[in-house]
Amino acid sequence: MNSAPGNILELKACGINFGGLTAVSALEVAIGRRDLLGMIGPNGAGKTTVFNMITGVYQPTKGSVLFDGRNIVGLKPYQIAGLGIGRTFQNIRLFPSLTVYENIQVSLVKTLRHGFSHSTLQLPRFHEEERAVRASIVELLEIFNLTHVMNERATSLPYGDQRRTEIVRALATKPQLLLLDEPAAGMNATEKVELMRLIRLVKERFDIAILLIEHDMKVVMGICERIIVLDYGIKIAEGPPEAIRNNLSVIEAYLGEQAA
């Protein structure tokens, strides 16, 4: 495959239809290994759909998705997650009956070297690994300041905490590329500032690429190095925050006159 060596993910001429509706068409996106890329666009522009195509929830009807140079179209979502793409959901999808701790534990399953027989028979390696699992969950929770709610049911937390738990859960899959779908939604100003700090921290500390969908311009403009703009499934602009902020078609389609 002819993918640029520095890119972790490339969408080539990607498109998808739902019945008669073309949700995304001929989309070209390239994400470098250390990019923090923003994706914005009006409601229903196709942003979440792009996430779903990348993660295998939807199959693109056209084009290819290259992860690390390899076409991942057709792979199952769990295989794609296994390759190193983690995500959050626009409508929070935490495991409702599990605690915060256990929600994150689920993500570590794919990193386990032990399986059915080890866990049922409790062989020595099992205990060793369980200790490691616990340590890494606790470490992550500390970074995100969620240790105090560790044993609470994830879905009884306030909205903002749930969003952060989702990010931690995605991170725990040890992704190379992290997809965040409106992580700031439902957060207040203070929390948003804190979120921006965390996203930057995650990128540095875990050394990964991030693709971010967000309607809050302070957040997007504040942390993204580059931004893609979708409208009606088509990419209408791409560039650094300043250029996007002043792009006329972006203002017309998305930002409105009094841009943030």
Binding site: K76, V106, S119, E130, R134
Partner: protein, 320 residues
């Protein structure tokens, strides 16, 4: 130290089963029989709990797995000619049980496959269908006695075997669901899409749940056959499956201690109601309704959970 607690508990449980079984003849046979049924129902209910409670796959086919285990076991022990009390029983019974479990597990594999495409009530009806197919096929197999049933199975099952298997079942299943690996079952139950996005192979987990659950149901079937010494296909109809589902839900889905206690209570309750004869089942069914209305999360809700108990154990044991 504490990390091996569950193993110690297991060994202790088996040892106690052995010691108790030495005094088995002192127990009134009627009570012994109830106790044995309690044990068998615990195995059935905890194994179904893995499928229904933990992995969230609504299965109504457990009696079918039990039938396979029972009939396989019966064929094995009658072919090998085991006799109660004979020394050969010590080898033949475990062999019969394990083979019964394996045959049931293979069927579990087969039943697990539709679960990949079907959900909820559609899956329930499919598993019910599988169970009934198994029953009808046995009913038509002459070498298994057909509708007339299988007679002359040696009575090899005793307190020791039943409660050793109970201990092993509970040990395996609670270890499984309490391990990190086992969190995959819960994730599949709660949200398949999110589980997949976290790298969980949902297909594999569902099949593992079905196969493991079916295996233990098969073993329970074997224990049952070698206890009653006569089995016929009607004993394994979907009504039996429903009885097991009731135990799981009354106990609280995904709550192993609750399910164990429910299995025991729901075995004892109809016995306790015997004196009122014809009114017994009416009272029994009413109590079921009342239990559900007053304790909708199961008898014990979330308070009594092995997870929290073990969690506490582990916390003490592991410095973090």
């Amino acid at each position: 130290m504490g990390v091996h607690a569950t193993k110690v508990v297991l060994l202790a449980a088996i040892a106690i089963s052995f010691i108790v079984s030495l005094f088995q003849s002192q127990i009134n046979p009627y009570f012994l029989q109830i106790i044995i049924y309690i044990g068998i129902n615990i195995i059935l209910a905890t194994s179904l709990n893995l499928i229904n409670g933990y992995a969230g796959q609504f299965s109504l086919g457990h009696a079918g797995f039990m039938a396979l285990g029972g009939y396989t076991g019966a064929v094995v022990s009658t072919t090998l000619g085991a006799t109660p009390g004979g020394s050969s029983a010590v080898i033949i019974l475990p062999l019969a049980l394990v083979l019964g479990g394996i045959v049931a597990a293979l069927a579990g594999l087969l039943v697990g496959i539709p679960s990949l495409r079907l959900r909820g009530d559609y899956l329930a009806i499919t598993t019910l269908g599988f169970g009934e197919i198994i029953r009808v096929v046995i009913q038509n197999l002459d070498f298994l006695g057909g509708a007339r049933g299988f007679t002359g199975i040696p009575k090899l099952t005793n307190f020791f075997w039943v409660f050793s298997v109970v201990s092993i079942t509970v040990f395996v299943i609670s270890n499984l669901v309490n391990s990190s690996y086992g969190k995959g079952f819960l994730a599949v139950r709660d949200d398949e899409i999110a589980a997949q996005a976290m790298g969980i192979n949902t297909t594999k987990y569902k099949v593992v749940a079905f196969v493991t659950g079916a295996f233990f149901a098969g073993v329970a079937g074997g224990l049952y056959a070698h206890f009653v010494s006569y089995i016929n296909p009607q004993q394994f109809s979907f009504i039996r499956s429903i009885e097991i589902v009731v135990m799981v839900i009354v106990g609280g889905m995904g709550n192993t201690p609750g399910v164990i206690i429910a299995a025991a209570l729901l075995t004892i309750l109809p016995e306790a109601l015997r004196p009122i004869a014809e009114y017994r089942m009416v009272i029994y069914s009413l109590s079921l309704v009342i239990i559900m209305i007053t304790r909708p999360q199961g008898l014990f809700g979330r308070e009594l959970s092995l997870r929290s108990l073990l969690g506490r154990l582990r916390k003490q044991a592991m410095p973090v």
